[in-house]
Symmetry: C2
Subunit: 207 residues, 2 copies
């Protein structure tokens, strides 16, 4: 199965190609793609040939064709239904983040236990009481949950979501470990790891 | 030079080993490390031997020794001075994130242009007016900036920080591109890419 870093680069190629497509660029070289994304040109060529795209020596790749091809690989074959649980600072920042708009998913529901938030719309999305999570997630067929609650609320939120019976994946930012049934995929995000990586490279790599 | 994904795994091994060290575990196999971190055991063995650690067949690795070794590779040879610019929802969520505590760096200053925030302490850190950024960053010798301002404020914030003369790296969350001198390293973070990766793997990889 395909490696995570490769998928990450695929997403980045897609976004860059969309931009080049919007700028009506006709061709782009692996060199230029590499420079714009901070990758080696050889890595770019290796990835693209893995996905069946061979560039033309001295010219590069046909932007439109590459864009359509990668778009097809990543394209929504369905509209994922997402719920965000824990509409605090991190949750709201994610809702406001423009790169979180996509044709492949829609955030259909928010959940919180703060009475000043539940029963209102936040960023145009209805916020429900977390007590109603199982019922609402089942009714809406929620497949993916973004978990941005405090650590001590993580497992109970997961349990309610799993009980709805439609959950397939969780993107969690909670600092506590969560346990799920085998058919639910969990991705943990920890932004501080990005800072650690930056500091490692600033330190000069291995001494 | 060492690849980013390898550094990321190194940080994850370090955190896991710290946990095992705290639990007073004596040995751990590449299999178990792999299961706990979602990696193949062969990847774990490959990484650790790259860093000079060979496990004992049928036994695994000596926790304490592995912990000290990786700790030494990642260990602070200095205390990085960090400033966070843009103390909004994302900025505050990062400040509150407990994994952002570390002995290798200290967030020494915050900057914002919101008069209700400047001149106060937020999470125990002084928040200055962004108009004073160049002077304050120079005085404090700020080396790394975490940029969590809106897109239209990104470049001007970067310019003020660069003008201080001590900046070495930027961790940016801003959606707009920023330009810096050659001696400043920029890491862009986009959390939505993590969601896209999760959806890609839920879709079942390549069709
Ligand atoms: N992984 C990362 O990179 C990262 C980065 C920043 C923050 N975090 C973590 O994310 C979490 C949230 O951070 P924050 O700054 O947004 O906190 P916050 O306190 O601002 O927000 C938490 C939200 O969850 C709600 N909540 C609490 N208990 C709940 C429950 N049982 N059911 C539903 N909603 C509930 C609260 O009402 C609030 O709206 C923290 O645990 C923090 O450590 C992780
Ligand atoms: N990269 C990612 O993964 C990611 C995720 C979420 C949000 N974001 C982005 O992060 C940015 C911040 O998001 P947010 O929800 O925290 O926004 P926010 O509006 O809550 O916070 C922005 C903060 O920046 C301050 N600010 C504005 N102009 C400034 C200036 N010139 N100098 C100093 N401070 C200034 C504001 O006063 C506020 O405190 C947005 O651009 C958003 O798209 C990125």
């Amino acid at each position: 199965r395909i490696a995570e870093p490769t998928v990450e680069r695929l997403v980045l190629y897609y976004r860059l190609l969309m931009q080049l497509h919007n700028e009506e660029r006709r061709v782009v070289s692996s060199q230029e793609i590499g420079e714009l994304l901070g990758l080696k040109a050889s890595q770019v060529r290796k990835d693209l040939s893995y996905f069946g795209e061979i560039g033309k020596r001295g010219v590069g790749y046909h932007v439109e064709r590459l864009y359509q091809h990668i778009s097809g690989i990543l394209s929504p074959n369905r509209l994922w239904k997402i719920a965000l649980v824990g509409v605090g600072r991190l949750g709201e920042a994610l809702l406001g983040h423009k790169a979180l708009r996509s044709e492949k998913f829609r955030i259909e529901a928010l959940f919180d236990n703060d009475k000043t938030k539940t029963g209102t719309e936040i960023c145009g999305i209805p916020c429900y009481d977390s007590d109603d999570m199982t019922r609402v997630m089942k009714e809406k067929g929620i497949e993916v949950m973004i978990l941005t609650v405090p650590a001590n609320a993580a497992q109970s939120s997961v349990d309610k979501a799993v009980a709805a019976g439609t959950l397939k994946g969780i993107l969690t930012f909670a600092t506590s470990a969560i346990s799920v049934p085998d058919d639910v995929l969990v991705y943990r995000v920890d932004i501080s790891v990005e800072l650690e990586k930056l500091l490692f490279f600033l330190k000069g790599g291995l001494d």
